[in-house]
Amino acid sequence: MKDFPRIIIGLTVACIASAFIMGVAFMLTIKAKKHNEYVEFKEAMYSALGYTHENPAPSTLQFHEVYRYILNEPKKDYMGYMIPLKNGKYCFVALNFDGNFLYKKDLNISEEEAREESAREKALSAVLNPSVKFFYANRIIIAVNNGKRVAYLLPRGFAGFKTTIKVLLALEPDYTIKGLEILEEEEDPGLGGEIEKNYFKNQFKGLTYKEITQLKVIKEPLPEEYRRILEQEREFTEEQIKKIREKYQDSHIYALTGATITSTCVTNGIKNIVKKFAYRIKVLDKIIKDQHINAVI
C-alpha cells in the first residue's frame, strides 16, 4: 500500500514530461509541416493541370475555391456553397437538394482566410441562425485565366480496396478529364499501389464526359504502344499521341494485373465524382446567374 503514492507520482511525472517533450516538438514543427502540405498540394494541382517545369503555368492563372457545406436544421437538411466574390470576400448561398434557391448571406472573410476551416466556421456561424448545424462537405477549386474558367480541380476521396484513396481530379470546362493525381493511397505495393504509376492514371486523361458516364474496367493486357505513350508522353509528338489515344482510348480502363478491385474502385470513384460534379456545377451556375451574384468564378 505504501507504494501507491509513489506509483501515482511516478506515472504522473512521466506523463507530464513526455507531454511536454511532444508539445515542444509539435510547436517546433507545425509551421514547416503545414507549409510542406501546402507545397505538395500546389505541386499536385499544377501537375494535374499538365504544367511542368518546361511548360510552366501562365502568370495570370488564378485559383478560386468554392466550399460546399451540408446544413442541418431540426426538420430539414439542405446544402450551401461559399462563393468567392469580385470584391475579395465570400457570400453564402443555401439551396435545397433539388437545386432551388433558399437564401443568401454575405460573409466577412477574405479568400486567404477562407483556406482555414476554423476561420470559415467562424464566419458562417456569425451569419447563420444558431439552430442550424453545418458540416463541411468538399470543395471545388476553379482555375481562372483572364476572367475565363480554364479548369476545375476536385480534391476527393473514395473507398479503395483497403483504405480511402484520395485523388485530385482536373477537369476541363466541358468535363473532359485533364489530369488525375493520386494524393494518398495505402493499397498493396506492387499490386494496387500501381495506381500511382503513369501507365494507369494517364489512361483517364482525355476521357470526355460521355465516355466517363459509360466507363468500365476491362481485364485485358495493356497494349505495348499505348503503355509507352502513357508512361512517357513527352517523348512523342502531339500527332502520335492523338493517333494512339484514338486507337485505344474508349469507354474502358485497362485493369491493373492482380488488382482488379482497386482498378474498379478508382474507375467507379472517378465516374461518380464527375457525374455528381457535372450536376452540381450546373445548379450552382444557374443560381449565380439567377441571383445576380457578382462571383469571381
Binding site: I7, A14, M22, L28, K31, K33, N36, P189
Partner: protein, 209 residues
Amino acid sequence: MAGKPKSNFELILNGLFNENPIFRLALSMCPAVGISTTLMNGFLLGLAVLFVQVASSCTISLLKNYIHPKIRIPTYTLVIATWVTVIDLSLSAFFPTAYKAMGIFIRLIVTFSIILMRLEVFAAKNPLIPSFWDGIGMGLGFMFGMMTLGFIRELLGAGALFGHQVLPVKPLLFFILPVAGFFCVGFMMAVYNYVEFLFKKAKEKKMRG
C-alpha cells in the same frame, strides 16, 4: 547473462547475428511480414526503428533508478511513444519526401515488441554506454533483417530493386503478398540455423583436433 560484459563491437554483432530480432528472436513479425515488400521500405523502417531503439534505450538506462518496478511497462511504452511522436513530427516537417514514403510505418513502431523487449532485458539493467551500443546493434539487426526480406521479396515479386526494374519479368507476383513474408522469414531462419550449425561443427572439430 553471467560472465564478463560484452564489448561494444560484440554488442553490435550480437544484434546483427546471435540475437537478430527477426530471424533469431522472432519478434516484431508483423512489420517484418507486412512492410518488407520492397527494399526501400525495409531500409526506411529499419532506419526509423534504429532511431527509436537507440533513443529509448538511452532514456531508460538513464532513468532506470527512478522508475518504480511495478509500473515499468507503462513507463517504457510512454518513452517509446514519445520518441516515435517526436521522430514522426520532425520527419514530416523537415524531410517531407522521406516522410511521404515511410509516414504510415513510423506510427506503428510504438507497438514493436523488439523495442520494449530490449528495454526490459538490457537497458533497464545496464549503464548508458552499453545500452546505446545495444540499441545500435538491435536497430541494425532489424534493418538488416528487413532489408534482406525486402531484397528477396522485391526481386522475386516485382523483379525490381529500390524501385528500379532489374529483371525483365515479375517472376513470382505472390511474393509481394503478406503470406510470402512468412515463407521468407522461415527461409532466413533456416539459413541462420544452418550457419550456426556449421559454426558449431567447426568449433567441435577444433576442440577435438
